[in-house]
């Protein structure tokens, strides 16, 4: 516990800026993973426990694509597309067989895939930490904002994620696809009875969620080192995000992810030992006061 450092940071503009920007990028990555989890759960009624492994896969794919092409844009696109396709295959070949089984079967299928993917990554890329380094495009001098240093990549990451969030919101609220998705979240049988191809719908939602996780992995690659098993902690944090924000709510996921990111970055200064506890504390309070989440409509 270091309250002096915490108070010192709060009273200094530069520290405030640095920590806020660090918290924001944690929040952005969390949001990208969490909204995939929440989308898939909303439409398919299953929680993809392997979503963290998708994120990991995205980071490694981006790493390789970047080394091959030297283009960060290609790396992000390649990771998003690759993981998206993998998600579709995973859904069609494996998850679709246990949609109607109990939770245990769904969890075990995902658990099996976490084991397989972690080892596959170990086989292909090795067990050591791997780092992409800052792509050449972003290897600029950090921006000075009120005396605080903000790397240009942070600005890019936040801008891209906000754009994705707005596009996603538009897709869900304004398009026919979004209408079907929202309808399926309420009553899957009815959507199917109305002649919508639900297999296609499920596969595309799963693919979209996986694509977002892959993109998150690629966006994380320059600022995080990649390691097998890196998916579990972000999976659990994104679950906390969906509980706080409310299952099925994109706006809720965004708000909660930013909140959690800020808790993480400021907590690491003031009370590093209790940062995890603080996040869980937030979740417990939300569960007790508003079990359906802060932004969910209706009751859980």
């Amino acid at each position: 516990m270091n309250l002096d450092a915490f108070a010192g940071c709060l009273s200094s503009a530069s520290c405030l800026i640095t920590q806020t920007s660090a918290g924001l990028i944690i929040g952005m990555l969390l949001f990208l993973v969490a909204c995939g989890v929440t989308l898939i759960f909303g439409v398919l009624g299953v929680i993809n426990f392997a979503h963290g492994a998708f994120y990991m896969l995205g980071a490694y794919l981006a790493l390789t694509a970047y080394q091959l092409t030297d283009s960060y844009l290609a790396a992000v696109l390649c990771a998003a597309a690759g993981v998206g396709l993998f998600g579709v295959a995973f859904d069609r070949l494996f998850m679709s067989r246990v949609y109607n089984s109990n939770v245990l079967m769904q969890l075990l299928v995902c658990y099996a895939f976490v084991l397989i993917l972690d080892d596959a990554v170990k086989m292909i890329w090795g067990a050591e930490f791997q780092s992409m380094g800052m792509p050449a495009v972003f290897a600029l001098r950090p921006l000075h904002v009120f005396g605080g240093l903000v790397p240009p990549f942070y600005v890019f990451l936040v801008a891209v994620t906000v754009a994705i969030a707005i596009a996603l919101g538009g897709l869900i609220e304004r398009t026919l696809f979004g209408k079907i998705v929202r309808a399926a979240a309420v009553n899957r049988q009815m959507v199917s009875a109305l002649g919508i191809n639900t297999s296609l719908l499920y596969a595309s939602v799963f693919g979209l969620g996986a694509l977002l996780a892959g993109a998150a992995g690629a966006l994380a690659a320059p600022v995080r080192s990649a390691t097998p098993g890196m998916g579990v902690s972000i999976l659990i944090e994104s679950f906390i995000v969906t509980v706080i924000g409310g299952m099925g709510s994109i706006a809720g996921a965004f708000t909660a992810a930013v909140l959690l990111g800020l808790v993480r970055s400021f907590g690491s200064i003031g009370f590093p030992l209790f940062t995890d506890g603080l996040m869980f504390g937030l979740m417990v309070i939300v569960l007790l006061i508003r079990p359906q989440g802060l932004f969910a409509r209706g009751s859980a």
């Binding site: 759960f41 299953v46 929680i47 494996f94 067989r97 246990v98 089984s101 109990n102 939770v103 245990l104 079967m105 769904q106 969890l107 075990l108 299928v109 658990y111 099996a112 895939f113 976490v114 084991l115 397989i116 972690d118 080892d119 596959a120 170990k122 086989m123 579990v232 902690s233 659990i236 679950f239 906390i240 509980v243 590093p272 030992l273 995890d276 506890g277 869980f280 979740m283 417990v284 569960l287 007790l288 079990p291 859980a300």
Partner: protein
Amino acid sequence: MLALLACVLTLLIASALGSKPLIDTLMRLAIFGLYAVSLNILVGYTGLVSFGHAMFFGFGAYAFGLLMQTGVTSLPAAALASLALSAALALIVGALCIRLADIYFSFLTLAFQMLLHAVILSWVSLTGGDQGLQGGIPRPRFLGINLADPWQVFVVTTVVFFASLLAIRTILQSPFGYALRMVRDNAPRAAALGLPVQRYKLAAFVIAGLFGALAGILMALYVSGAYPNFAFWTLSGEGMFMIMLGGIGVFLGPVLGAAIFLLLNDTVTRFTEYNGMVMGVVLLVVVLGLRQGLLDVVMARLRPR
């Protein structure tokens, strides 16, 4: 009676053969078998798919190890105190988790387990961080039992294992146990009949946590220490794996599952470092192919409907 017989038989066979590897294998089987059976109280009998059961395994091991290292408590007192603490933990965590249905419950238990894991890792001054509990666990004599002797540790573990199995069996065969099955099969109906469903779920959670912690205590005694991976999520996954392998609907299924799991894991580890890959494929085949555990299949054959 049967449990007593099996207990004596196990001890006799082990003492007759007296080989060290056999005793080691039986010890691990007893520990993980008890762990899997305790998890199955929740998964198989109450329909609560807990993905954080290793929380209690790890907590029991650490609580016991830390209490023994203070040097003021006797061994049985430390074990009882750790069990009481674990029950209290299960009560708090359970009260929060059972508020949520199905998959939310699974994730919330997982999340709490990872919180415990994070606390163990970061509270270095108390737990030794990622190095695990340092300095071993002292084992003062009590009631003429000397647990510094591996053979006596084995005897104690075996007796505790069979006694626990008997206790769990008795609980599950009691009216309370049948109430749990009803909660699993049709919770609204149980509620309509006046059963306090949430209280039954919580009771099952605490009982499962208690025996899970007991398995952790035996583990701490066996390896003379406690390590963060006792509370890591993979151990929770392995517990479900064992249950799935052996059979969910049969009381001894998880023990068989634990035996197969340990055997498989040891064999695979000898040949390749990528044992997660192999175990994952085996798990997929069992889940998508058999769709139930081995003993479930056998029992279904024995009892044609």
